[in-house]
């Protein structure tokens, strides 16, 4: 446990030194000033959408940058021979990015929309988004050696992440959307603003946990395959 807290602490320090917190503060200031100018917007309707899209960068892309840098610098290889377990490594990344994301999301939600929401469901919803994005970000990024290989396929993942937004615009309504892993955290953030039936809350929690579990097992296997046994690692190229 002490080792896990120590790892989380250093993850946060590294994220701070790499400008994550500075950039987040700048973005919050810019967006608060900008969005305050728009009148007549029902923000409670749009927060689930905004969070689904903004947390992709905070979790999926940030974990990719961290993993690829640590891979390139040999930090990940070095960690294999330390007492730090692969699950501790992954959990520390999820928790540290969750702290960053909660600070950013709550600052935006409070300063733009006000405090009229259910904090419990908001925090749980953000947590499920971050856990899913971070674990699948690790799952995808660990397979590559460089950002230039990862960045464009990641665009397709990002398009896939946005599918649950289709019903928002009446573009597609179908029960099958409830099978999409991100539909569950989206429902949880909706629950922060509107009372939802009990079955919807159970669905939001349990279905998020199911896909977090899949991501967790896949992440640990990915760690073993691509970090420990270095399967599929190609010789670095001079150029792309």
């Amino acid at each position: 446990m002490k080792r896990l807290f120590h790892t989380i602490y250093w993850d946060i320090v590294r994220q701070y030194r790499n400008g994550f917190y500075l950039v987040t503060a700048l973005i919050v200031v810019l967006l608060v000033i900008l969005l305050h100018q728009l009148s007549g917007v029902d923000w409670s309707l749009w927060w689930p959408v905004i969070l689904l899209e903004t947390l992709v960068i905070n979790s999926f892309f940030f974990i990719a940058g961290i993993v690829l840098l640590e891979k390139g610098e040999g930090v990940l290889e070095a960690q294999v021979v330390t007492p730090l377990r692969d699950w501790e490594y992954l959990l520390a990344k999820v928790i540290s990015l969750y702290i960053l994301s909660v600070l950013e999301s709550l600052a935006l939600v409070l300063l733009i929309g006000g405090p009229n929401f259910n904090w419990f469901w908001m925090l749980v919803g953000i947590g499920c988004f971050v856990a899913l994005y971070t674990l699948y970000g690790f799952f995808v990024a660990a397979r590559y050696d460089s950002i230039s290989e990862f960045i464009l396929p990641s665009a397709l993942w990002t398009i896939g992440f946005s599918i649950p937004l289709l019903p928002y615009f009446d573009l597609w309504q179908h029960w099958i959307l409830y099978l999409h892993p991100l539909q569950a955290p989206l429902v949880l953030v909706q629950a922060a603003y509107n009372p939802l039936p009990v079955w919807a809350l159970w669905y939001g929690v349990l279905y998020s946990l199911l896909w977090i579990g899949v991501g967790w097992i896949s992440g640990r296997r990915t760690f073993y395959r691509f970090v420990i046994t270095k399967e599929g690692t190609r010789r670095r190229r001079i150029s792309s």
């Binding site: 950039v23 900008l34 940058g65 840098l69 665009a155």
Partner: protein, 247 residues
């Protein structure tokens, strides 16, 4: 070592890499996919939003197109090449280049030429492909010329400000928010429009919007600023890039 020799030295290596690696094909594929999604999706979306929220999106088409095509196409290219340079920085390739006869500045020009050419080519492809506007060839050329410098400006912005790829992602997030800001100037915060002039992408967007309203509009002031402003930024960043690499 002049540019021609740089091209001879690096061209074959890159061509082989492109063959092996799908980056370039992805770079070409993504804007085309975006144009097709807009072509099919935007008219349907307009109908749905009108039915559901009683809001008409059609007057905002030019703003959407100016953001998605004129700004996002070069931005994606610029950011991808920026990450390519950060990869090369992280694995010491750029340091290794310094002991070769190839001057770093030539290498940089070579790297940022591709997104410029791709952007110009794409402008002539994505607008017709989306089928959502009817710009004349001359207007398209003006728009393409002003969109082109966005890519190298962003590439250099990332390569000079970020020390590694993790910082690159932090900058990418900031760039994303800053680039979407002028959109608000055109859809609801008109009283602040002058403030957004500080963002380089405001100028090509404004020029495009004027051309869609009036094909013979006097857009030259906007055209000139849209070219000169990013060129100055590129010039400053190239000097900084060389300093960063020498340190």
């Amino acid at each position: 070592m002049n540019m021609r020799r740089t091209l001879y030295a690096l061209g074959p290596i890159d061509l082989r890499s492109v063959w092996r690696d799908s980056m370039l094909s992805w770079m070409i594929f993504l804007p085309l996919l975006g144009a097709l999604i807009l072509r099919v999706g935007l008219p349907i979306l307009t109908v749905r939003v009108r039915e559901r929220y009683g809001f008409d999106l059609e007057p905002f088409y030019p703003v959407f197109l100016s953001y998605f095509f004129v700004v996002m196409t070069p931005a994606i290219f610029g950011i991808v090449i920026g990450f390519l340079l950060l990869d090369e920085k992280d694995d010491q390739t750029l340091k290794a280049l310094q002991i070769t006869p190839l001057p770093l500045r030539n290498y940089l020009v070579y790297r940022i030429a591709l997104p410029v050419l791709l952007t110009i080519g794409m402008m002539f492809t994505v607008f017709p492909l989306s089928g959502l506007d009817d710009l004349s060839p001359l207007a398209t050329l003006l728009v393409a010329t002003t969109a082109a410098p966005i890519a190298p400006a962003l590439t250099l912005f990332m390569a000079t400000l970020a020390q590694n790829k993790v910082q690159g992602f932090a900058l990418m997030k900031l760039i994303g928010v800053v680039l979407i800001m002028p959109v608000f100037a055109f859809i609801g915060i008109e009283h602040w429009e002058e403030l957004f002039m500080i963002i380089p992408t405001y100028w090509p967007m404004k020029m495009y919007l004027l051309l869609t309203v009036e094909p013979s509009a006097a857009v030259w002031p906007y055209f000139l600023v849209a070219i000169i402003y990013p060129t100055v930024i590129i010039w400053v960043l190239v000097r900084r890039f060389n300093q960063v690499m020498v340190e």
